[in-house]
């Protein structure tokens, strides 16, 4: 438990958020047990998200390291003013007289039938906010280590979790492999993982993804191998802001073709920024049109089949990779 470790390790860390106390331990149980052990340092709050962002900012500017849990990432919208006109500005606007070492944990994502206001992946709305970090955990990451790095960071970190991850176990590379895929992990507090097949089958495309899209991307990559004999590399980012472009460019140097895959809606998504940076910085690496896989622009409906058809699927990723090859 990374939060327990940070509470243990540093006494300036405080958890704040709704319904955090034991026995409940937060809506997704992430803080279970912590308020019993650190009753003074786990602060349960009223339903006041807008203010909680400001409270975290105030705590951080006065020497503490708050970790704020927003129960559903959908409610980060309530904090946009505090984020854009406060958290992202104070340090630079006050000429570096303050720092804001705070972490905001945001459980995003669908596939649970929670309906339009409890299923979104809204991290894309933060891509335009300067002076913040945005980090996404995935099942192949050392999630605890990444979260601890976020707590130790001097900059405000928006930490994207995906609700589907809570029910599944993490899988870490062992001996440089996860399953049959070779894994290279960058040396960084917020590493990127590059997954590739065997050396003899050159990869046809680079699939850039993060967070809760990982299992879907991996399934697509497996299907592509088994059903189409097409091999892909997967670049699994954790650092979305500032965007960790290098591993993407390295992979593209081998594959020459880019597919971005994210759970959020297409327009104004993270894929757009990835494509803009890639085409701006490494035009010559691309031999064909980049493609984006994302949710349909619109609501995420409640009924399961409607929800499934709004969210990006394995088939969508497969189709995007195959479309590249046809060009």
């Amino acid at each position: 438990m990374a939060l327990a470790r940070t509470l243990e390790r540093r006494d300036d860390v405080y958890l704040i958020g709704e319904d955090l106390l034991d026995p409940y331990g937060g809506a997704f149980k992430v803080s279970k047990g912590l308020s019993t052990r650190w009753p003074e340092r786990v602060i349960t709050t009223p339903i006041s998200e807008a203010s909680l962002f400001g409270v975290a900012a105030g705590m951080a500017m006065r020497g503490l390291r708050p970790v704020l849990e927003i129960m559903f990432g959908d409610f980060v919208t309530l904090g946009f003013d505090q984020i854009v006109n406060g958290i992202s500005k104070f340090r630079q606007m006050y000429d570096d007289q303050v720092t804001l070492p705070l972490v905001v944990r945001m459980p995003m994502g669908g596939h649970r039938g929670y309906g339009p206001t409890h299923s979104q992946s809204l991290e894309k709305l933060l891509m335009g906010v300067p002076n913040i970090r945005m980090i996404a955990a995935s099942e192949y990451h050392d999630v605890g280590g990444v979260l601890e790095a976020a707590v130790d960071d001097e900059e405000p970190v928006f930490f994207v979790e995906n609700k589907t991850m809570y029910g599944r176990l993490n899988e870490r590379p062992s001996g440089g492999y996860i399953g049959a895929m070779r894994v290279r992990e960058t040396v960084s507090p917020y590493p990127a993982l590059t997954l590739s097949g065997n050396e003899f089958a050159p990869a046809a495309a680079t699939v850039v993804t993060y967070g809760g899209m990982l299992p879907i991307a991996m399934q697509a990559v497996t299907d592509l191998i088994l059903e189409h004999e097409v091999f892909c590399e997967v670049v699994l980012l954790s650092a979305l802001l500032p965007l960790d472009l290098d591993p993407v460019l390295e992979s593209l140097a081998r594959t020459g073709a880019l597919v971005t895959a994210e759970e959020g809606g297409l327009t104004g998504g993270i894929g757009a920024e990835v494509i803009a940076q890639v085409t701006g910085q490494a035009w010559d690496l691309l031999r064909t049109s980049p493609r984006r896989v994302a949710a349909v622009d619109g609501i995420i409906p409640g009924a399961p089949a409607l929800e499934r058809s709004a969210l990006p699927s394995v088939d969508d990723v497969v189709a995007a990779v195959l479309a590249l090859r046809r060009e």
Binding site: E18, D19, L21, P23, Y24, A27, T44, T45, P46, I47, S48, A50, S51, D74, F75, L78, R112, G113, Y114, G115, P116, T117, H118, I299, P301, G302, A303, P304, A305, L306, E307, R308, S309
Partner: protein, 302 residues
């Protein structure tokens, strides 16, 4: 206080319909027929029923929240449409797009972000006033939702602009797992009063009393065109949503003694309540079956 005994039996029937509807949903949930989440109104029925009795569904407006089934059923009596919506059927009132907490039908609306419904309801009241429709807007919110700042922005707007809106706080003493004393300071009714809004507080689960007081309050909104703030003391008997129950068993037992279906028992005719119970059982089961028989939304049919 009610004009006739018939009326009380009618209110009783409405409460029982809500109770059995919600219990049926929980069964469907356990049986795996329902995915997602649902927040039941079990124990709180007197509020919805006592209040909506004074509203005219063709003219007045309700904006409700995540715990909205009771309000919907009391206002529309549309069991099939709601079952179908929660079950994700094409025949649901929003075609399965909304699900349990995102409902709309005619003058009834809900949404799932706590507090954010309140300014929208306020804007609706402004529109009704400007159009001279004579409608009253009722917005329901939980005690925990008083944590949201837009609620106070809206109280100010409603009082400042003299809007025909009633804010109903259903104080069930918990916000999800959090007891009121861990999330609220001061007094609920003072919060309405501070904005110059006429406030009433009702510490009862007796639907007849609630009906009576709500009638006065809504009548005043209708005639004066000014807002009103009504606080109901209540309790939910089931867990917050589908999750674990963390509250003290003794506390729940104590509050169950004030079950709105029981507290009026000595004013009801046993033969008629039996008939109501049987009819309700049938209606709810039939509505459930009709809803279940409809196609799932989004699945292509053969």
């Amino acid at each position: 206080m009610l004009s006739t005994v018939t009326d009380l039996h009618h209110l009783y029937e409405q409460m029982l319909v809500i109770r059995r509807f919600e219990e049926t949903l929980l069964e469907l949930y356990s049986a795996g027929e329902l995915v997602g989440t649902t927040h039941t109104y079990i124990g709180q029925e007197a509020g919805a029923v006592g209040i909506t009795a004074h509203l005219c569904p063709e003219r007045d407006v309700i904006f409700s929240n995540h715990r909205c089934h009771g309000h919907y059923l009391a206002f529309t009596d549309d069991l099939i449409g709601l079952f179908a919506e929660v079950l994700g059927r094409t025949t649901g009132i929003c075609g399965g797009k909304g699900g349990s907490q995102h409902l709309c039908r005619e003058n009834f609306y809900t949404n799932g972000v706590q507090g954010s419904i309140v300014p929208v309801a306020t804007g609706m009241a402004l529109a009704e006033k400007l159009q001279g429709s004579g409608a009253v807007v009722v917005v329901f919110l939980g005690d925990g939702t008083l944590g949201q700042g837009v609620v106070y922005e809206s109280l100010n707007l409603a009082a400042l602009w003299s809007l025909p809106i009633m804010f109903v706080v259903e104080n069930n003493h918990y916000a999800q797992s959090t007891p009121t004393e861990l999330q609220m300071a001061g007094s609920i009714s003072d919060r309405g009063a501070a904005f110059g809004i006429r406030t009433a507080q009702l510490d009862t689960t007796d639907v007849e009393q609630i009906h009576h007081e709500a009638g006065r309050a809504i009548g005043r909104v209708r005639t004066s065109g000014r807002p009103s703030f009504l606080v109901l003391d209540t309790y939910r008997f089931a867990s917050h949503s589908k999750g674990d129950e963390m509250r003290d068993a003794a506390e729940i037992a104590e509050r169950r003694a004030h079950d709105p279906l029981l507290v009026i028992a000595d004013r009801l005719d046993p033969a008629r309540t039996r008939a109501i119970a049987e009819a309700t059982e049938r209606r709810v089961a039939e509505a459930r079956d009709v809803a279940l028989a409809a196609p799932a939304a989004g699945l292509l049919q053969a």
